[in-house]
């Protein structure tokens, strides 16, 4: 099993190189750039702030609004600007995953607006978007239960693999994007496309949990180093 080599030379349980950075946009309350191999996603968070369409406000909690969008140059053939059905669906699943991790009850009648732009798409964009938004939310000082670590697992030629790229995504027999709140041991997103046996599914979830743990460590390091860099200058840390 471990000798299986993938199209880009990775092992079956190997993630692509990850780069995470926060405070990339000055005008947003919080922002983050997350790269998963060639997949590059930027997320911006505004809020919690006053909601101006008062009739859609929730009386006891804050509203989370997510706009997931792929820029026209993010794919090989130009993608048209307007929202596609796929983008609307992904906006919805990201919103639902984030709603579980934000302490919304602290900000009644307000809104948290999240904008996600996929700059370059090479598979697993929804999980990269979730990782980017979770970093951006923490950077904005939004009160959360935990960070989100999301990863995709799939099956190609009967072999389970972690972190699918575009080629693997298109040629896979099954594809599962999954998002965890690792410290609380909770799953906030689980989707599946394709067919898997019960045993394969169990194995896939195990692989996803291990990969998510690695992503979680990178996210934690990224947030801590963003503060340390400021505090170290003055010999504080």
């Amino acid at each position: 099993m471990s000798s299986y080599k993938r199209v880009d030379g990775r092992n079956y349980d190997e993630l692509r190189p990850i780069k995470a950075e926060v405070r990339v946009l000055k005008n947003a309350d919080g922002s983050a750039l997350f790269e998963l191999g060639n997949t590059k996603v930027i997320a911006a968070v505004y809020g919690p702030r006053e909601l101006h369409s008062k009739h859609i406000a929730a009386s006891y909690e804050s509203l989370v609004r997510v706009r997931y969008h792929m820029v026209p140059f993010s794919v090989k053939e130009r993608k048209s600007q307007p929202f596609t059905r796929r983008e609307i669906e992904i906006s919805k699943v990201i919103k639902e995953a984030l709603s579980a991790c934000i302490r919304r009850e602290l900000f009644p009648r307000s809104t948290i607006d999240i904008y996600v732009e996929v700059l370059n798409a090479d598979g697993s964009t929804r999980v990269a978007s979730l990782n980017a938004t979770s970093l951006a939310l923490a950077d904005a000082g939004v009160f959360m239960y935990d960070l989100i670590a999301a990863v995709s697992v799939g099956k190609i030629q009967g072999q389970l693999i972690v972190d699918l790229n575009e080629y693997e995504d298109q040629n896979s027999e099954a594809d599962i994007p999954i998002a965890f709140m690792p410290s609380l041991n909770k799953v906030v997103l689980l989707q599946m496309d394709g067919v898997m046996t019960y045993e394969e599914m169990k194995e896939a979830l195990k692989l996803a949990r291990n990969a998510a743990e690695k992503i979680y460590q990178i996210e934690k390091e990224c947030l801590k180093s963003s503060l340390e860099s400021v505090l170290k200058v003055y010999g504080y840390l």
Binding site: E50, S110, A140, G141, Y145, K220, E228, L231, Y236
Partner: protein, 227 residues
């Protein structure tokens, strides 16, 4: 001084039932976790707190804030207080006279874009913050320069027993109003002094949690003023 550590959401801060979680932390079972990115310092009190380094102002009853009028209606104004929700200033809390005696157009008292120094007298989960101008020292601010700081760093700008803000006021020779919501008004027409104050605020913003800040601000002001 004990060492502060950087914490992120879900960092475990304390295990045990003898302490309470504060606003910036939450409790699961008998463990207390951080829910925000910030600095955690172990303290003797019975509440576990994290110092937030970013984020919006959260209204508290009794806080004095600087607000900007955004909307006027028949008997109240909506006020932007740099928070996630707009505050309300009812006419009855804005005029010294009783409401029924006030018969004029309320825009003659306060209008959109006016800056006020007000106190939050009521706020809970179900109602927006209610402001009042009735106490001494509160009211409309007619002139000055409006500056900003992260709300979490306001206590550092004020200092222990107002030491920091007192020193800045004395050295610059100007009057400064500091709102708990991270807004500051410099009551002066001397633009050079406002520029120095802006640099001081930037330094506090950047080094708010580094020990020995008051001395460094003092040195900075001395060198700036001697030029």
């Amino acid at each position: 001084m004990s060492k502060r550590e950087i914490v992120i959401p879900s960092s475990l801060l304390y295990s045990g039932d003898d302490v309470k979680p504060s606003f910036t932390t939450y409790k699961l079972g008998s463990n207390i976790y951080s829910s925000v990115i910030g600095l955690y310092e172990k303290s003797e009190g019975d509440e576990i707190k994290v110092i937030t380094l970013k984020g919006k102002y959260y209204p508290n009853v009794g806080d004095r804030v600087i607000g900007i009028i955004t909307k006027d209606s028949i008997f109240s104004w909506s006020v932007d207080i740099n928070s996630f929700v707009e505050a309300i200033l009812p006419v009855s809390f804005a005029v010294k006279k009783r409401k029924r005696e006030f018969t004029g157009n309320i825009t003659k008292l306060l209008t959109i874009n006016d800056v006020i120094y007000a106190q939050i007298i009521d706020f809970d989960k179900f109602n927006p913050p209610i402001l009042s101008l009735k106490k001494k020292g509160l009211g409309k601010i007619n002139s000055g320069y409006l500056l900003n700081i992260t709300p979490g760093k306001v206590p550092r700008l004020i200092g222990k027993k107002h030491s920091m803000i007192k020193m800045i006021k004395e050295m610059l020779g100007i009057n400064i109003i500091v709102g708990k919501n991270g807004r500051i008004v410099a009551l002066t027409n001397d633009f050079n002094k406002v520029k120095i104050l802006e640099e001081v605020i930037q330094k506090i913003e950047f080094e708010a949690h580094v020990p020995g800040l008051t001395d460094r601000i003092k040195n900075m002001l001395e060198s700036k003023l001697s030029k």
